[in-house]
C-alpha cells in the first residue's frame, strides 16, 4: 500500500505520525479544516483591511489536500533544505492568507500568530517571506512569475541528491502571462524534471478582470502540451476529494520523463457568495457588514478561530 491510494490508510497515518510527519487521514477532519481555513482567510483580511481573499478562498481545498494529506512534510522543526521531504513553493504569493492558515493549522507556527498578519513586525508578511524566519516558507514570492523557477531548482537538487520526494508548486493563471513562467516551463521539459508537480489556480480571474478579457490564456492545456508537459485538467478544484485524487494521480504520473501540471479550475472567492466568481475580491477587504455576512456563511468549526 502506498500513500497514493485513496481512501488513505490509517497505518500510513500512524507511520507518518511516528516520524513526526504531518498526516490527516480522516476526510471529515479535512473538510472541517477547509471550513476553518476559509474563516481564517476572511478574518485575517478583514482584521487589517488589506490582503487577497479571492484567490485564497478559491485555493482552500488545494492547500488542505496538499498539507493535510498529500505532502510528506515535517512541520517541526522546519528544515529549509527539506531533505527527504516533499517541498512546496507558492508562486502567486498574494494568496498568502490561505497558506498561512494551513501552515499554522498543520503545526508550522502557532495559530494565534495569524492575528499578526500584515501588521508591523509580523512574520506573516503581506507576501510570503523567509526574511523574518517564518517556518514553512522557503523562497519569498509576491512579485509574480518567479516561483516555478525556484521549484525547478529544488527539484534538480533532489535529483542530484538521489532524494526521491516530490516538489509541488502553485501558480496563478494570470501569473502565466509572465514570460519567466514559460522559460521555466520550457526548461523543465527540456531537462525532464519529472519529480515536479505544478498546479495552476485556473480561476479565470486577475486584477483587472476575467483573464479572457485582460490577456487571454487561450487554449491553456494546448499551451502546456506544446511545451512538453504531461497535462492534467481538474474540473473540480473546489472539491476536496477530487483535489486529493488528482494530486495522487499526478504523483503517479511523475518519474516518466515529463514534468506534470494540474490545470485546476477553481472559483475565486469560493464559499462566500458575494465574493464568488468575480475578480472584484482579488485584493479587497470586506467592510463590517460584508464581514458579518461572510461569517454567517462560513460556519464555526470545532477547530476554533485563532
Amino acid at each position: 500500500m502506498t500513500d497514493d491510494t485513496i481512501p488513505s490508510s490509517p497505518s500510513l497515518a500512524e507511520r507518518r505520525k511516528q516520524c513526526n510527519f504531518y498526516y490527516m487521514a480522516d476526510f471529515s477532519k479535512l473538510h472541517e479544516l477547509c471550513a476553518q481555513v476559509r474563516r481564517d482567510i476572511v478574518r485575517m483580511v478583514f482584521n487589517v483591511q488589506s490582503g487577497h481573499p479571492g484567490g485564497s478562498l478559491g485555493c482552500a481545498e488545494f492547500f488542505v489536500a496538499l498539507y493535510g494529506n498529500v505532502l510528506k512534510h515535517r512541520p517541526k522543526p522546519f528544515k529549509m533544505e527539506g531533505k527527504n521531504q516533499d517541498m512546496f513553493f507558492l508562486s502567486n504569493g498574494h494568496i498568502s492568507p490561505v497558506w498561512y492558515s494551513v501552515l499554522a493549522r498543520t503545526g508550522y507556527f502557532p495559530v494565534a500568530e495569524l492575528n499578526t498578519f500584515r501588521k508591523l513586525n509580523t512574520r506573516l508578511q503581506g507576501h510570503p517571506a523567509t526574511h523574518e524566519g517564518l517556518p514553512g516558507v522557503r523562497v519569498a514570492s509576491g512579485s509574480l512569475g518567479q516561483g516555478m523557477s525556484a521549484a525547478i531548482g529544488a527539484a534538480l537538487a533532489k535529483r542530484l541528491d538521489g532524494d526521491k520526494r516530490w516538489i509541488f508548486c502553485l501558480t496563478g493563471d494570470g501569473e502565466l502571462e509572465e514570460g519567466q513562467c514559460w522559460e521555466a516551463i520550457m526548461f523543465a521539459a527540456h531537462h525532464k524534471v519529472d519529480n515536479l508537480i505544478v498546479t495552476v489556480d485556473w480561476n479565470g480571474q486577475q486584477i483587472d478582470g476575467p483573464t479572457d478579457r485582460v490577456m487571454s490564456l487561450g487554449n491553456l492545456p494546448a499551451k502546456w502540451k506544446a511545451f512538453g508537459w504531461d497535462v492534467l485538467v481538474l474540473e473540480q478544484g473546489n472539491n476536496l476529494e477530487a483535489v486529493i485524487a488528482m494530486l495522487r494521480r499526478a504523483k503517479r504520473r511523475t518519474g516518466k520523463g515529463k514534468p506534470v501540471v494540474i490545470l485546476m479550475k477553481t472559483e475565486m472567492g469560493y464559499g462566500v457568495d458575494f465574493m464568488q466568481g468575480t475578480h472584484q475580491w482579488h485584493g479587497k477587504a470586506p467592510n463590517q457588514q460584508q464581514f458579518d455576512s461572510a461569517m454567517q456563511q462560513l460556519p464555526v468549526t470545532s477547530l476554533g478561530d485563532y
Binding site: S50, H131, G174, E178, Q206, D208
Partner: protein, 319 residues
C-alpha cells in the same frame, strides 16, 4: 515663509497622475496608455474609459509592455506605461535600457506604489532602489513628485518633454500643499523656505515631512532652507550649490535606500564642487516590511523625528 505652507487635505499622488493623464488624453491624441493588470491601482481607468482605443492592457507582462511602448513611440505615439514602481524598474531594467533609453524613445514610465508607504504588501513590492536605477541610465529624466497637485502637473509636463521619463509616485493619501494650478518645470528645484543653518533637500513624500520638521526646528531657533528636488535627473546643480554655499550643511530626505538615490546624487555633486557635512534620511540598507505607511516611515527612520535628528547631527558636524 514656512508657515505659509499648509496642507489643504490629503489625496494620493497616484490620483494626481490619473487626473493628469485624463487631461492629457483630451489635449493630445498621440498620448496612449498601457498597463500591466494594474489599471485602477494606477488610476488609469479614467483615461481608459474615455479613450479605450488608445489604451492597451498588457496583462501581467511588464517586459513586453516596455517594448510595446518603445514601438508605439517609434511610430510617433507618446506612451505612458503604468505599473507599480518595482515592476516599472527592476523587473524591466534591461528592456528600458535598450529599447527605451539607449534607443531615445519618448516613453513615459509612470510608477506608483513606490517606497515604504505602499504599506501592507510588504518588501517584495516596496522598491527602494528605483531612483538609483533610473538615474544611472543616460538620457533618462527622473522625477519624484510630492503631492497630488504636483503629480498632476508633472504628468502633463512630461508629455511636452521629448525623451524617456521616469515618473515616480506613491500609494497613500498624502497632504496636498503645492498650488493646484502650478506649472511643472522639469529640472528646476523648488525653493520652499529660506534658511541659513542647513539645507534640507527632499523629494517625494518626504518633502512634506521635511516641511513639518523645518517648522519645528524654526521654533527651536534653527533656520532651515527647504528645497523640493522633484527632478532627480537632471539635477538642479545650480540651485543646490547656491543653497549649500550659504548653509554649508546638508540633509537629504527621500523614501529610498541611502545607497544610490538622491542622497548619493547630491553627495556626488558636493564632493566634486563643495564638500560639506551631509546626513541622509533614508532606508539604511534594509528591506521594508508589512505595516501601515506612517508606522513604516517611523520604524525605518523616515519620520519627522529622523529629519530633526539628521539636522542636529549635521549641525554638530558643521561646527
Amino acid at each position: 515663509m514656512l508657515k505659509n505652507i499648509v496642507s489643504s487635505g490629503s489625496r494620493a499622488t497616484r490620483e494626481g497622475f490619473g487626473a493628469g493623464l485624463l487631461e492629457l488624453g483630451r489635449q493630445n491624441p498621440d498620448v496612449v496608455g498601457l498597463t500591466a493588470d494594474l489599471m485602477e491601482s494606477l488610476q488609469m481607468h479614467h483615461f481608459q474609459k474615455e479613450f479605450p482605443e488608445r489604451f492597451f492592457q498588457c496583462g501581467i507582462a511588464e517586459a513586453n509592455m516596455m517594448g510595446i511602448a518603445a514601438g508605439l513611440a517609434t511610430a510617433g505615439k507618446i506612451p505612458f506605461t503604468g505599473t507599480f514602481a518595482n515592476f516599472s524598474t527592476g523587473r524591466v531594467y534591461d528592456q528600458i535600457r535598450q529599447s527605451i533609453a539607449y534607443s531615445h524613445k519618448n516613453v513615459k514610465i509612470c510608477a506608483s506604489h513606490a517606497g515604504l508607504t505602499l504599506g501592507e504588501d510588504g518588501a517584495t513590492h516596496q522598491i527602494l532602489e528605483d531612483i538609483g536605477m533610473m538615474r544611472m541610465l543616460p538620457g533618462m529624466t527622473v522625477i519624484n513628485t510630492c503631492d497630488f497637485n504636483q503629480t498632476r502637473a508633472a504628468t502633463i509636463a512630461i508629455a511636452a518633454h521629448h525623451g524617456p521619463v521616469y515618473l515616480r509616485f506613491g500609494r497613500p493619501a498624502w497632504p496636498v500643499f503645492t498650488p493646484d494650478n502650478q506649472k511643472f518645470k522639469i529640472g528646476k528645484a523648488l525653493h520652499l523656505a529660506s534658511g541659513k543653518d542647513v539645507t534640507i533637500f527632499a523629494t517625494g513624500h518626504l518633502v512634506w515631512t521635511s516641511i513639518e520638521a523645518a517648522k519645528e526646528l524654526a521654533e527651536q531657533g534653527i533656520s532651515c532652507e527647504v528645497i523640493n528636488i522633484h527632478t532627480i535627473k537632471p539635477l538642479d546643480d545650480e540651485a543646490i550649490l547656491d543653497s549649500v554655499s550659504k548653509t554649508r550643511a546638508v540633509v537629504v530626505a527621500e523614501e529610498h535606500q541611502r545607497n544610490g538615490g538622491l542622497g548619493d546624487a547630491i553627495a556626488n555633486l558636493l564632493v566634486h564642487q563643495m564638500p560639506v557635512p551631509m546626513e541622509y534620511v533614508g532606508v539604511k540598507d534594509s528591506f521594508g516590511e508589512s505595516g501601515k505607511p506612517l508606522d513604516l516611515l517611523d520604524k525605518y527612520g523616515l519620520g519627522k523625528k529622523d529629519v530633526l535628528w539628521a539636522v542636529k547631527d549635521v549641525l554638530d558636524r558643521k561646527k
